[in-house]
C-alpha cells in the first residue's frame, strides 16, 4: 500500500502543478458591480465543441462578469437524452440542430423566449426564422445554417459533376468521401430517385437503400469531421460535406469546384434555446444578447464557417469570407425550395437506420 500512496501523491502533485499554472492567468476584474448585475454567476452552455472562438467567450465574461461553463455533446441525441434525464434543469443555454429542437419542444423541455430581454434580436435574418421546429418563433434563435454540398478537385476528375447522381459514376471508385449523417446520405439516394428527403413511404426508402448499396464501391471514407482534409491531401477527389468543411476546403484551395446538386438541397439550421428549468436563464439572455451584436456575431460566424444567420453582422464579415458564408439574397429561394431534414415517422426512421447500416456494411 505504501507504494500506492506515494504514487497517488505524485499524481496529486502533478495536478497541483498544473492548477498552479492555471491560477496564474485568472483575470482580476476591477469593474464595479452595479454595471454587472450577473457578475459572479455561471452560464452553463451546452453545445458542440468549438462553436465559439475563445475571444468571443472571453469578451462575454469580461463584460458581464459571468463565467461560462462550456460543456459539449457529440450528437444531438446525447443532448436530448441528457436534457430528458435532468428535466431541463442543468443547462442554461443549448445550441443544437433543428430537428432535435422540435423533439425537445415537443417534450416540454424548452422555455419560451422573452424576446424583449434580447436587445439585439432584430439583427437576426428573418429568412432563417419560423421554421418547422419553431413555426411561431417562440422558443429559438437561429445560430448558423448550412447545406451539404459536393466539392471536387477538377484536376483529378475528367467529367462534370452536376448532382448527386454523378456520385454513382464508376470512375469514382474508392475516391469519394461522405459525411456520416444517415438522414442526409439516405436523402441523396432518395433525391437522385426523385423522392423527398422527409418521405414516410417505406417502399421509397427501401428503394433508396438499394440504390445506396450501388454507391458503396465508390466510398473511400465515411466521416463527420474534417472531411475537407481528405480532399486537400488528395486522399479522395470528391467529397460530399457540410458547409463549414466546404468553406475550409475552398479557403485552402480556391480551385476546388463546388456543386449545388441539381436534384435539390438539404438545408439545416442550428438554433439556440433555453431549457425549461434553466437555473440561470438571465445569463442565457445576456449571452444571446451579446452574440447577436453585429461585430461579435461576425467574429463568431467567421470562426464557425456556417451561413450567417445574423443580417446586421454581414457587413462586418471579411471580404475573403463574405462569398463563402453569406448567402446572397438572390439565393434565398434555395432555402424556400430546399428541404430541411425533419423528423419522420417511427418506422420510417427505423428503416433509415437499417438501410444506412446495410450500406455501411457493403462499403468495406
Amino acid at each position: 500500500m505504501k507504494i500506492l500512496k506515494k504514487f497517488g501523491l505524485l499524481v496529486l502533485l502533478s495536478t497541483l502543478m498544473l492548477s498552479g499554472c492555471s491560477s496564474s492567468n485568472t483575470t482580476t476584474d476591477s469593474n464595479n458591480d452595479s454595471s454587472m448585475p450577473l457578475k459572479g454567476t455561471t452560464l452553463n452552455l451546452y453545445t458542440w465543441d468549438g462553436m465559439f472562438p475563445q475571444e468571443v467567450l472571453d469578451g462575454f465574461t469580461k463584460e458581464t462578469g459571468i463565467t461560462i461553463n462550456y460543456s459539449n455533446f457529440d450528437f444531438d441525441e446525447t443532448m436530448l437524452a441528457k436534457l430528458e434525464e435532468t428535466q431541463g434543469k442543468d443547462y442554461d443555454l443549448v445550441i443544437a440542430d433543428d430537428y432535435i429542437i422540435e423533439l425537445a419542444i415537443e417534450q416540454g423541455l424548452v422555455q419560451k423566449l422573452d424576446r424583449t430581454k434580447i436587445s439585439t434580436i432584430d439583427n437576426i435574418n428573418p429568412i432563417y426564422e419560423n421554421e418547422f421546429y419553431d413555426p411561431n418563433n417562440e422558443y429559438t434563435l437561429p445560430y448558423g445554417a448550412g447545406i451539404p454540398l459536393i466539392v471536387y478537385n477538377p484536376d483529378e476528375i475528367d467529367f462534370e459533376i452536376n448532382g448527386y447522381s454523378d456520385l454513382w459514376n464508376p470512375k469514382l471508385k474508392d475516391n469519394l468521401a461522405i459525411i456520416g449523417n444517415y438522414r442526409v446520405i439516405n436523402g441523396i439516394a432518395l433525391k437522385s430517385l426523385g423522392y423527398l428527403f422527409n418521405t414516410n413511404d417505406l417502399t421509397e426508402i427501401k428503394e433508396a437503400g438499394d440504390k445506396l448499396k450501388e454507391l458503396a464501391p465508390n466510398i473511400r471514407i465515411i466521416n463527420d469531421s474534417n472531411l475537407q482534409d481528405f480532399l486537400i491531401t488528395g486522399e479522395v477527389s470528391v467529397a460530399f460535406m457540410y458547409t463549414s468543411q466546404v468553406n475550409q476546403a475552398l479557403l485552402t484551395n480556391p480551385d476546388f469546384k463546388v456543386v449545388y446538386p441539381e436534384e435539390g438541397l438539404g438545408f439545416g439550421i442550428m438554433a439556440a434555446f433555453i431549457p425549461s428549468q434553466a437555473p440561470n436563464a438571465d445569463a442565457a439572455y445576456a449571452f444571446l444578447d451579446y452574440i447577436n451584436r453585429p461585430e461579435v456575431a461576425a467574429k463568431g460566424f467567421e470562426w464557425l464557417g456556417y451561413f450567417v444567420t445574423n443580417k446586421a453582422a454581414e457587413e462586418y464579415i471579411s471580404e475573403e469570407m463574405k462569398p463563402l458564408i453569406i448567402l446572397p439574397e438572390d439565393k434565398y429561394d434555395l432555402i424556400e425550395k430546399g428541404e430541411i431534414i425533419q423528423n419522420v415517422e417511427d418506422d420510417a426512421l427505423e428503416l433509415h437506420t437499417q438501410i444506412f447500416a446495410e450500406f455501411q456494411k457493403e462499403t468495406k
Partner: protein, 264 residues
C-alpha cells in the same frame, strides 16, 4: 536462469519500437505548423502556445486526474478486499458476485453508459463528479480484482503457514507475506485501470454533468469537429508528465526498497 537469446531480445525491441511509432509521430507532428494534422507543413510551436492558453482543456485534464485517482482508489479497496475474502472461504453468492463484478469490462462501454444514465436518474443523483467516479469505479474494479485474484491463486499456502508457524499474528502475516505478494497484482491493476479511466470517453459522456468535462471527452469532441494539432501538443505534454511521474516513482521506489532490504 538462462539468458535470453539474441532473437528474443530483437523481438522485444522490434515490438516495442512499433508500439512507439504512433506516439513518436504524434510528438513530431505536434511541432507541425500545418493545420491539417496528418500533413507536414514545417516546424512551429504555435500549438503549444495555443494549448497553454486553453483554460478549458487544462481544467478538463485536472478533472480527469481527479476522477481517475478516486475511481482507482475505490477500486483498489473494493477489488482487493473481495479477492482476499474469496480466496479461502466460499460463500453461496460469491461466484455470482464475482461474475457480475467483472461484467463491466465484458460488455460494450456504451451499454454501461446508458444503463448508468438510467440508474443515476432513477436514484435522482445529480450528474457530475460523483456519478463519473461511481461509473469509472465499476470498470476499474474488475482489473484489480482479477489481477489480485490471479496472483492469489498462484500463491503457495505454505508461505503463510510458515509465517504462522514462526509465530506471526494474522495481521503480521497479512502485512509481511500477503501484501508484498499481491502488490504487483494491485500495481498492474492500478496502472491498467488508471489508464482506462483516464481514457474513457463513452461511459463518461453519459455520466457527466454540465460542470465536469473530462479530458477524454474534450479530445473526442475536438476530434469530431477537427483534430487540431493542439491535441498532438497536448498528448506530448501528457506523455512528458507520465514519463516524469514514472521516473520519480521509480526513484522513490528504489529508495524504499533499499530501506526494506536493510531492515532485514
Amino acid at each position: 536462469m538462462k539468458k535470453l537469446s539474441k532473437k528474443a531480445i530483437l523481438f522485444l525491441v522490434v515490438v516495442t519500437i512499433i508500439n512507439y511509432l504512433p506516439i513518436i509521430l504524434t510528438v513530431v507532428y505536434s511541432f507541425n505548423s500545418s493545420k491539417i494534422s496528418s500533413v507536414w507543413g514545417g516546424t512551429s510551436i504555435v500549438w503549444y502556445k495555443q494549448l497553454f492558453n486553453d483554460n478549458d482543456l487544462r481544467r478538463s485534464l485536472i478533472n480527469s486526474l481527479i476522477v481517475a485517482l478516486f475511481s482507482c482508489s475505490f477500486a483498489v479497496i473494493i477489488g482487493t478486499s473481495a479477492a482476499l475474502a474469496m480466496r479461502k472461504t466460499k460463500l453461496f453468492f460469491d461466484n455470482m458476485i464475482s461474475y457480475f463484478s467483472t461484467l463491466p469490462i465484458m460488455i460494450p462501454e456504451i451499454i454501461l453508459g446508458m444503463a448508468f444514465l438510467a440508474v443515476f436518474s432513477f436514484f435522482k443523483m445529480p450528474f457530475g463528479f460523483i456519478t463519473l467516479i461511481i461509473a469509472h469505479t465499476s470498470f476499474c474494479i474488475p482489473y484489480i480484482f482479477m489481477l489480485v485474484r490471479s496472483r492469489l491463486i498462484g500463491m503457495d499456502p505454505s508461505y503463510e503457514e510458515a509465517a504462522k508457524d514462526l509465530g506471526a499474528s494474522s495481521y503480521e502475516t497479512f502485512r509481511d507475506i500477503i501484501v508484498p505478494y499481491i502488490l504487483p497484482g494491485i500495481l498492474s491493476g492500478v496502472l491498467l485501470s488508471f489508464a482506462m479511466s483516464f481514457d474513457d470517453v463513452v461511459i463518461s459522456i453519459f455520466t457527466t454533468g454540465p460542470t465536469v468535462n473530462t479530458l477524454a471527452i474534450k479530445i473526442y469532441t475536438k476530434m469530431k469537429t477537427g483534430v487540431t494539432p493542439e491535441i498532438n501538443a497536448l498528448a506530448t505534454v501528457i506523455l512528458l508528465i507520465s514519463v516524469i511521474c514514472i521516473f520519480l516513482f521509480e526513484i522513490i521506489n528504489k529508495k524504499s526498497t533499499n530501506k526494506t532490504q536493510t531492515r532485514y
